[in-house]
Amino acid sequence: METRHIDADILVIGGGTAGPIAAIKAKAKNPQLKVLLLDKANVKRAGAIAEGMDSVNNAIVPGYATPEQYVKEITIANDGIVNQAAINAYAVRSYAMIRELDEWGVKFEKDETGDYAVKKVHHLGAYVLPMPEGYDVKKVIFRQLRKHGVQVSNRLVTTRLLVGEGGRAAGAMALDSRSGEFAVIRARAVVLCTGAAGRLGLPSSGYLFGTYENPTNAGDGYSMAYHAGAELSGLECFQINPLIKDYNGPACAYVTGPFGGYTVNAKGERFIKSDYWSGQMMLEFWRELEGGNGPVFLKLDHLADETVTRIENVLHVTERPTRGRFHEGRGTDYRSDLVEMHISEIGLCGGHSASGVWVDEHARTTVPGLYAAGDLCNVAHNYMLGAMVYGQIAGEDAVDFIAGRDFAAFDAAQVERERERVFAPLLREDGLAPTQVEYKLRRMVNDYLQPPKVTRKMEIGLQRFAEIRADLGRLKANNPHELMRAMEVYAILDCAELAAAASLYRTESRWGLYHYRVEYEGRNDADWFAFVQVRKGADGRPECFKREVPPYLYPIDAAERDAYDRLRFEQPATV
């Protein structure tokens, strides 16, 4: 096992959506810097947007919406627990990012006059900008990476951050999943963009890689930030999405809604007013599924043939293009059949819900010199464009941070410790297959953490997780690829324990299904109008504590406050 030593001014980890923009913007601000972008996969096709995207889910386009309206809607959709300054930092840059992507060559839907054709999908305002030809977004961004001279390194699986003097980020350590080499990368600032914890729950198909999220996103970033001493936030606010059953991809409400598609129960009745994904919406969805009114379906069979064709030209071409192949296999045609929907496995994802590594409006974590952007950070409902904008904010702020600062000195013992941890499964004679340990762990996550959350169940879950932790010392990998999978099991286990700890700590219900605790029905603002944070305690165990919600930039009226609690139709609506 050779060790490769690499130095960079700014190290960006994760080349999906946020990462490339962070690297481009850092280089654009100071072209003299060495900016290194590394990914576990191949940056050309890495991340959630590997095959493009159906739409911008949170476009703030003048004439349709203002940053103030958007920040308020996201505040309400998240039951008030947001840092408005962080959401606003996205909102005020949203339109400029769309314009820049447009100039680079990303295609957005426009009306006859050439204006962006924004649609209303959210409960209150209009923020969805379709991208029917959005499949090229990665290619377009890759051209900019080349143009700006960003250095790219693929198939490097980062396993731990290097922590330097004063607790400052000093770089990272990584495993080359092809050669089995170990890499020690020194950097003056680090931007973490490793996406969601997408391999936390097990999809009901039982297929480990049949996840909603790109399965490369196993939760490594949460684990790395945690071990580096960073504060994580909202890990009890799970990500749970309404998806095409078994296929486990979005259907997607944001595409079909504007064309007239909607969700119905087994009786053909519409039961939710807004298909925009929120915890409250998921709670209604879950109630319908479990309450005897299921299955739940996406209904498109009432639409005109040419409308369905337009929908197919999006759903079967971008983002998850195998959706058409799946329907074909089952003989499902949107024109005559309803699409059976289901609830996804649980995950952690700031982009869709409101959890992750705590960052402020400069994308700074609580570790000096460490930034986080994209699904990994806790900027609520930030989606694709929010990932890009936070990438920009992080990249540009990192350039300022390193001015006049050299590499942080660090204790070399941490490198030796990490080398030992990483290579142990390869050196072991025999033992447990990483995929089997992963299967068991993720099944336990389903059994004990899937909402509705029950105290006793979560406590048993923690016992099971502790037993699996003891099994990590028996993991056996036969090659660098399996070694990557073994290291991912460590990260998934960290995420499971942190999610359980945060969920037990918040003794109320909030965010609809995302944190529905049966013993603590309803919101308790008197005690719990606060973020739940978790960090590594002095004893090496997760330590939970509250962090105040910063004063709002845009106050919310009492009348608007509960708008997302009124998603259910009072009378069943048959349309």
């Binding site: 096709r45 039982g206 890689f209 049949g210 078994d246 195998t322």
Partner: protein, 77 residues
């Protein structure tokens, strides 16, 4: 410790008549996010070596000869 080797359905199908890996092509191997495609030294063609497919399609879309067809993994069909 003895182990049992599990059998999985190959869901990424490579057309051997079209695959030009023998001429040095590695495009699909390079782009696959989960890194599950590899060169089979026996026949000089590409094959799926891990049952870890996200049915996402970069391999199929980027293959210069359209040699790849991705099926939905059996458990999901």
């Amino acid at each position: 410790m003895s182990v049992i080797v599990n059998q999985s359905v190959v869901s990424v199908i490579v057309d051997h008549d079209k695959c030009i890996a023998g001429k040095g092509c590695r495009v699909c191997i390079d782009v696959c996010p989960t890194d599950i495609l590899a060169l089979d030294p026996q026949d000089g063609k590409v094959k799926m070596v891990y049952d870890e497919c996200w049915y996402c399609l970069p391999c199929e879309h980027d293959c210069p000869t359209k040699a790849i067809h991705v099926e939905i993994p059996y458990l999901l069909r």
